[in-house]
């Protein structure tokens, strides 16, 4: 019988939600400088498994980012090729 390799499960420490920690942070399309932190260099919304944002705030964040995109304050897409 072939021995099964014992797989090491990577225990990832969950990041705390920045909006739950600091209630003064306002998720709003008008506050687009803050929203830019939750968009990667390609202009895509960062997944909450990477950013650590909770489900409730991620829903609001996505909605406000889309509003800011429509107003030309945040890019839809960023082309990185030369």
């Amino acid at each position: 019988m072939a021995k099964k390799k014992a797989k090491k499960k990577a225990i990832r420490k969950l990041k705390p939600c920045p909006f739950c920690l600091d209630p003064t942070l306002e998720i709003d399309y008008k506050n687009y400088e803050l929203l830019r932190k939750f968009v990667n260099d390609r202009g895509k919304i960062i997944a909450r498994r990477n950013s650590g944002v909770c489900a409730k705030h991620q829903r609001r964040l996505a909605r406000e980012i889309k509003r800011a995109r429509f107003l030309g304050l945040i890019p839809y897409i960023v082309y990185t090729y030369r």
Binding site: E26, R67, L73, Y76
Partner: protein, 210 residues
């Protein structure tokens, strides 16, 4: 009649043309909102903002934020009117949050402060123009001389301080040397300074020995 709601509109105006046209256009939209809404609360001008991507071949636009109360039919009425306006590049009507009124007040206060500071800075510039011109040339003459002295002196001083550090760490001796140093820059010739440094070293060693 339905329940009245708080709405906010951000309108992007085409900046192409004269400033007076732009102001007139923002006022036209305001009067339009006042006409259709139940209560017009206020507006703030965000000013010219560069677009992240071009909108209708424009690279920047003039943003204005309006806040008003209205029934559920008012957004549709306003949007149909704004669609006809050629000067409006884009607009966004959303139901405002409860803190929108506070935001509006804060922004209006900031705008007032900016206007005040601009007025003050303009007054200061007018008064300071003449004395500044008179002072500048004298500063330019003085600076080079100071720089040359400063450059010449530290080379020898640094060497002495390093040597002291190597010999022994004695804080009191280090304190003595800076008192003598200010005399050196007045004598630009190097050999004399070296002799002095040697003397200082000797004096330092004596102090350490004691």
């Amino acid at each position: 009649m339905g329940k009245s709601q708080l709405y906010e509109i951000v309108v992007i105006f085409d900046p192409h043309g004269e400033e007076s046209d732009l102001k007139r256009e923002t006022d036209v939209v305001q009067s339009l909102i006042e006409k259709h809404s139940e209560e017009f609360i206020g507006r703030t001008d965000w000013g010219m903002i560069d677009f992240v991507y071009p909108i209708r071949k424009r690279t920047s636009g003039y943003y204005v934020y309006y806040l008003f109360k209205g029934s559920k039919d008012t957004p549709a009425l306003i949007s149909s009117a704004l669609k006809m306006d050629e000067k409006v590049l884009r607009y966004l009507i959303v139901r405002a949050k409860s803190n929108a009124v506070e935001y509006l007040k804060r922004k209006q206060q900031e705008a007032e402060q900016v206007v005040r500071t601009e007025e003050i800075s303009e007054e200061v510039e007018v008064t300071e123009e003449a004395p500044l011109e008179a002072e500048k040339p004298t500063e330019a003459e003085e600076l080079p001389a100071e720089e040359t002295v400063a450059e010449a002196a530290p080379t020898t001083e640094e060497a002495t301080t390093h040597e002291e550090a190597v010999v022994e760490e004695t804080p009191p001796t280090e304190k003595e040397t800076p008192a003598e140093e200010p005399e050196k820059p007045s004598e630009p010739e190097k050999p004399e300074t070296e002799e002095k440094n040697e003397k200082t070293n000797e004096s330092n060693e004596k102090t350490t020995a004691e």
